[in-house]
């Protein structure tokens, strides 16, 4: 390990791509994690906390987003082992289930929340440590488990403060696309590796529909596409008939209910896996509708491709549908805040047995950003009542006041900096966003009273005012020392 040079001062900086979270940011996230945990628990999921550190061997290389350029982890060698920080909560779940499977109930429903780390190039708003909040059901192939995850996701979004109508959960199924690929002749069930490159190009092309439009995607399915800069991207080389099938699959998203199912069935006609996929989707929808989760909350949407390269069956995505204003003042959709699906191979790596599993991962930091953008976080916690120090020899008197306030459940503190400059005490209270300051000088002490200053009202003036000016503000009043707690309570209650 490199030792810092002792004669040089270290830089007080986060490593690149890491940041600190202060005050309300921390509180708001904790509260959201609790709200999410409450829903997960209600659905019968149990908490699991695995450590941040795993062996590289156990983590494997299963990063969900295949297109990511630097799919790195933070890893280091420790004696004989390579260790790494977990990059998600799914890989550790696979390890945990394989390790403890004899002691765990099956199906195993677990939720996990905590930071994950990615060794990627940081960017604006993109950090190398961020929170995930996952729920997974391991050990059941039943699509009732998938349906339940979707319903729970909708409930969770509402629990954290996204009203119905402001979000939509979209459901697709990898098997349907596989069926379309099979019918198109780019997937051979007896030789799954064949045409893998073409399928990769098709998946990436579908994923670019938003950006390239129908013509752009169509070009990528065929010979390829030249972009504005003149760069050429090689296409999948599908024939017109093959490309047409894929385009119809993507177009199916716009169809109304009855036509949608007919079109999907037609597209996968003759493919076992495709027909299974359509049946599964249909069954998920039936279960959801029976529970009252209609298209105002959850829809079947063949245009969802995110994660189709990773998951093996149903795929879910939750999107916030309201507009926010971006940094350039343009309105835009907020977009995806959660994703998940069914994966059957993770545990198999360890045990050799395929264990079906399905789950969801909520991007807590994005969800917090969305609520903040909409002004739906109820803001910072209340700052503490600050008892100022007029006479440093009477610290015990001031401590007694905060003791009484705290005993009444009111956040309070004595100013502990150098009390000489009273203005600094007021600046401090201001910076803490204190609602109230208490003043007890020698005169007040003698008369058995204290001054109570409403800082929310008085903040602006207080900033530069001298003590005497400040005391004359109408937002300040005097009360008997014995009434201190009651008067502060009254003032705080008035603010709500």
């Amino acid at each position: 390990m490199a030792k810092p040079n002792k004669t040089k001062r270290p830089k007080a900086e986060n490593p690149k791509g890491f940041r600190d979270y202060f005050g309300a940011e921390v509180t708001e996230r904790s509260r959201m994690l609790e709200q999410i945990a409450d829903v997960y628990r209600l659905y019968g999921f149990d908490p699991l906390e695995s450590p941040a550190v795993e062996t590289v061997e156990a983590l494997g290389k299963f990063l969900p987003d295949v297109d990511r350029p630097n799919d790195g982890v933070f890893a280091w060698q420790e004696e004989d082992d390579w260790l790494a920080l977990r990059y998600d909560l799914t890989a550790p779940l696979a390890r945990v289930f394989a390790q403890h499977r004899n002691d765990l109930p099956t199906p195993y429903r677990r939720f996990a929340m905590g930071p994950v780390w990615r060794n990627e190039k940081p960017g604006p708003g993109r950090f190398r440590q961020f929170y995930q909040c996952d729920a997974d059901t391991v050990g059941t192939a039943s699509v009732a488990a998938d349906a339940e995850i979707c319903a729970m996701l909708a409930d969770t979004l509402e629990a954290v403060g996204i009203p119905r109508g402001d979000y939509i959960v979209r459901v697709n199924n990898r098997k349907v696309l596989n069926g379309v690929m099979e019918v198109a002749g780019v997937l051979d069930p007896s030789d799954p590796e064949k045409h893998a490159d073409e399928r990769g190009i098709v998946l990436r092309a579908i994923d670019k529909l938003d950006r390239l439009g129908t013509d752009g995607v169509r070009a990528l399915l065929g010979e390829g596409r030249k972009d504005e800069s003149g760069d050429f991207t090689k296409g999948a080389g599908l024939t017109d008939r093959q490309a047409e099938l894929v385009m119809r699959f993507m177009g199916a998203a716009g169809l109304e209910e009855t036509a949608l199912w007919a079109e999907l069935r037609a597209l996968v006609d003759g493919s076992d896996v495709g027909e299974e996929g359509v049946s599964e989707l249909r069954h998920i929808q039936e279960l959801l509708v029976a529970q009252g989760y209609g298209p105002d909350r959850i829809i079947i949407d063949p245009s969802v491709v995110r994660g189709l390269g990773y998951y093996t069956g149903p795929v879910f995505e939750a999107e916030l549908t309201f507009e926010i204003t971006d940094e350039k003042g343009r309105p835009r959709q907020f977009g995806s805040v959660a994703g998940g699906g069914r994966y059957d191979d993770l545990v198999k790596r360890f045990t050799g047995q395929a264990v079906p599993a399905t789950g969801i991962s909520i991007g807590v930091d994005r969800l917090l950003a969305a609520l903040r953008a909409k002004g739906r976080l109820d803001g910072a916690a209340v700052g503490p009542v600050v008892v100022t120090v007029m006479d440093r020899d009477r610290m015990a008197d001031y401590q007694a006041m905060v003791g009484e306030l705290r005993a009444a459940g009111i956040r309070a503190e004595v100013y502990l900096g150098n009390p000489k400059n009273f203005g600094n005490q007021l600046k401090y209270a201001d910076r803490r966003e204190s609602p109230v300051a208490i003043i007890e000088g020698a005169d007040e002490k003698e008369r058995g009273v204290v001054q109570i200053k409403d800082l929310v009202l008085g903040a602006q003036i207080a900033k530069d005012a001298t003590l005497e000016e400040w005391k004359s503000q109408p937002a300040q009043f005097e009360c008997a020392r014995a009434d201190l707690v009651a008067e502060v309570r009254r003032l705080l209650d008035r603010r709500g």
Copy 2:
């Protein structure tokens, strides 16, 4: 980065010294962290969450326990930087304060809770990732800040369920020992490096009082000591007079109030730092007594040495005083669960300016172990109500039941494994510690009723019984389908 061999299956194992936490363990810890945060917040402390990863340069080498054999961190090289996992929450606080000092209020009161990592040899009950829960006040030299931290520590222990009388907060002051050392002639204020080795031996000797007894410590202060195996430990080489002063300092802990202060004053007579230390201790005690924190909660105790090598002024330690039974069935004191003190040099590393700071760190995992040992954790969360699947084609019916139960705030789930073997469904419910199972077969469906099974009563019999035997148990009863939620509620309420 080493890639795992693709043809070999990875081992499903935690790295050495790491473990997973399941269910109630996670919930109990979250609840305790919340309880602690509530007290910290009440005292005016604000949350801070810094990332797990810091530069090695910023972390420095400040591990608090000087005697630790492998005071290592987990570190790795990343491009030009060496990065490391934080080993405590104090070193990151120093970096944060140095980095953000112009935007933070001063004094800055912050609390932080989260895992820290130590690259040490793991042992029984000793893990390489564990939780800390810290509160610190940065930027004030006032001992009122130290007194407040002690009071808050006492309040916190009571808030998490340690009754008054079952804990004690001990306070000492590094400066008093320094004064004794100065009077003894092993500390020269004008040349602080001189005699550093001797002082190190003295500190370690005092720390071993419990284990070695008075004679053993006395030997280590002098020439040295031969232990039972014949190994010789070199002593500090103090003269009789010098050693006597140190022994008197340690003995002072047993004195009653008035004698204690007289003895401490006598021991440091002539040493400026020593006299300052005694005054500070006295002032801390006065402030605490004025707030009602008497010797039933907080005492001045010169025998506290833990951390004396690290801290620069007052030192605090919280100990649980009740006995528990150790793994060999012997009664023993539970011991320390929190420690802290004043340190003035951490921020100076970055800025060149000494910034006085004081704080406390609570060992959350030890505190949880203590409460568990005393049976004071209110146990596992309630398992979910399990709706069994008698007819797999009626999944929507069963989902409707759990939907109703959840809407009433009752934790519930449908059995999602293979429903063919009903016994497996009951075993599952058993493993989940479900209080209630619901059964609705074709017959029940037709008659508009459901079976409600009290599993807590019926658990033993249910394990091996066939469905029919199980249904005949008295703990099972039938109710109208429409009364499902009300009946389950009634049953759960009866259990409390």
